[in-house]
């Protein structure tokens, strides 16, 4: 912890900027990146339409724990917003990060310069946050246009989605440093999909069996969904701070672990 704090103190904004600048430069490498970027955005949007709106027509209205009654799509949309924040950040810090660390040796090349492992981790996380924010910004516009939230609550939810991006980006990066090869990503994808289905995304967790509800409450996307939903639909409570705290811990621990692993793996 002390070493992490020292690393934060000595971090150079210009070197972190250079790491981000590299990823901006890579945007020009060809259309493939943009295709991936676009498909990543549309995935939660498609779920919003098919399940939130489509299945929602069958489900009807939903009574929230607080007693308020909302359309099913209003309930599902913030969850999809949290999911797009998660998947935008994860896409960068898992697949792209892993490729740069293991295959293209990009980080190895960078570490021969004054840039330090911690600065690479921070730069990569910042870049993941950019992608995550592009997703969530566009998604919030869709929500406002569809009347699923108000512009004011949309603005309130935006910082929450940033925190979600940071938390998942950091943990994804930490996991990537442990990956042995592409086959390990299958497990990650499966895990991500399980979180997507069961984190109070499509039905309130209170409807689950009690033991299952407790299990869900330990997993990260649940906290992301609760925090983002509370703000997007204007249901504020002190509990939101608890969810935010969970995500802050994820972000800090993930970042510190990833930086350490970069050092351990590449500086030997």
């Amino acid at each position: 912890m002390v070493t992490t704090m020292l690393a934060v103190a000595r971090i150079s904004p210009s070197r972190v900027g250079a790491v981000i600048n590299r990823n901006v430069g890579a945007l020009r490498s060809g259309p493939s990146y943009w295709l991936v970027l676009l498909s990543g955005f549309f995935e939660p949007v498609l779920y919003l339409f098919s399940i939130g709106v489509g299945v929602g027509a069958l489900v009807g209205d939903l009574v929230l724990p607080g007693g308020r009654t909302v359309e099913y799509a209003v309930f599902v949309a913030p969850a999809m917003l949290a999911v797009s924040a998660m998947s935008g950040a994860l896409a960068e810090t898992t697949f792209n990060f892993f490729f740069k660390m293991k295959y293209s040796k990009t980080f190895e090349a960078i570490l021969a310069t004054p840039v330090k492992p911690f600065e690479i981790a921070v730069g990569e996380l910042a870049w993941a946050l950019v992608r995550s924010t592009v997703y969530t910004g566009a998604f919030l516009v869709v929500m406002v246009v569809m009347g699923l939230t108000s512009p004011g609550w949309a603005l309130a939810a935006l910082p929450a989605t940033l925190l979600v991006g940071l938390a998942f980006g950091a943990v994804g990066m930490a996991i990537s440093t442990l990956m042995r090869g592409w086959q390990d990503f299958d497990m990650l994808t499966t895990g991500q999909f399980a979180l997507f289905l069961f984190s109070g995304t499509f039905s309130p967790v209170q409807d689950y069996p009690a033991a299952f509800e407790v299990a869900v409450a330990v997993t990260p996307l649940f906290h992301a969904v609760e925090l983002v939903r509370g703000l997007a639909i204007g249901e504020l409570s002190w509990g939101l701070l608890g969810h935010a705290a969970y995500l802050v811990v994820m972000a800090v621990a993930g970042l510190a672990f990833a930086a350490r692993r970069i050092q351990r793996t590449l500086c030997v």
């Binding site: 250079a18 590299r22 020009r28 490498s29 293209s104 190895e108 310069t113 004054p114 330090k116 030997v268």
Partner: protein, 309 residues
């Protein structure tokens, strides 16, 4: 043997690098002076790359003393790396960037401004003769071009000390000569070069001074010429015989005899005289080659085996 410590860009005493139970570098002493071209010669696994990574401040010494540019790599790694240029053994150019962007992006890691990065990239594209390919992606480049780009990238921060790990391994002769010529120009401009190689001709071409490494230790140190003078004779006769009989014994007394699987080396001050003596003894080798002694002979003498990987 060593220069004044204060004038050393690289100063090592008893430098050790261990990976678990394996000792890659086993207590070496080094001093490299400014402006020098210094080489590590040795087979794969001799500890050259491990030493280079420690000098490059990406790998920390397990034991011993190491000062680079007068600083401590453990404490000042980032500050030292700011003044180094590193050309790694395997090209790690950025596949998502084109040739020019590989240089400008790399310059930014050293804190150079966008404008300065562009200026240096243009200069270096000319220096390594890649101007025509500036907008090309990295992947389609030939091995020699990639190497030149990696070297250009290593120079983007105008380093005082350039580390080259096997700069020409795997390149064709034309590409090697072009690279040597560029490296020689760098040396003339006063840049200190440290390189590893397992090519004797490369060491002879480029290095003012070199160490022969074997099994993590330094087996010998000196200029290419002095090493040859110390550990070999001015000339070497290479003899091949049509059959497997023991010719080594029959050559005794002419000079030092070194039987290799496919030929016999005869170390002599005067090669032609040695050949005359071979014939006088009634021996009829199928081929005879008299040549000047090279670093290969030094290596053979020091380690008892040929320099192959």
């Amino acid at each position: 043997m060593s220069k004044q410590p204060l004038q050393s860009l690289i100063h090592a005493r008893g430098l050790v690098k261990r990976f678990g139970d394996f000792t890659a570098v086993d207590g070496i002493d080094l001093d490299v002076a400014p402006g020098e071209a210094f080489g590590f010669l040795g087979p794969n696994g001799a500890g050259k790359s491990s030493t280079m990574r420690m000098i490059g401040c990406v790998s920390m010494p397990t034991a011993g003393e190491l000062r680079i540019l007068g600083m401590d790599p453990v404490r000042d790694g980032s500050r030292i790396r700011a003044r180094l240029g590193v050309c790694p053994q395997l090209d790690n150019l950025d596949p998502d960037l084109n040739v020019r962007e590989n240089l400008t992006t790399y310059a930014r890691y050293f804190g150079l401004s966008r404008a300065e990065a562009r200026r240096r990239a243009e200069e270096l594209l000319d220096f390594v003769q890649l101007r025509d390919r500036a907008a090309s992606q990295v992947e389609p480049l030939s091995g020699g071009m990639k190497r030149r780009l990696t070297i250009a990238r290593a120079l983007v921060n105008e380093p005082e000390l350039v580390l080259l790990d096997e700069p020409t391994t795997g390149l064709d002769p034309q590409a090697r000569h072009l690279l040597w010529e560029r490296l020689f120009r760098l040396k003339q401009q006063g840049t200190t070069l440290v390189l590893t190689t397992h090519y004797m001709d490369e060491a002879e071409q480029l290095c003012d001074r070199l160490v022969v490494m074997d099994g993590g230790r330094i087996a010998a140190e000196g200029s290419p010429r002095s090493l040859i003078e110390t550990y070999s004779t001015p000339e070497v006769v290479e003899l091949r015989f049509p059959d497997e009989a023991d010719y080594a014994g029959k050559l005794e007394g002419i000079g030092r005899v070194d039987p290799l699987p496919d030929r016999i080396l005869l170390y002599a001050d005067d090669g032609d005289a040695a050949v005359a003596e071979v014939h006088r003894r009634g021996l009829t080798p199928s081929s005879v080659l008299v040549r000047r002694s090279s670093l290969e002979d030094v290596f053979l003498h020091l380690t008892g085996r040929t320099l192959v990987d």
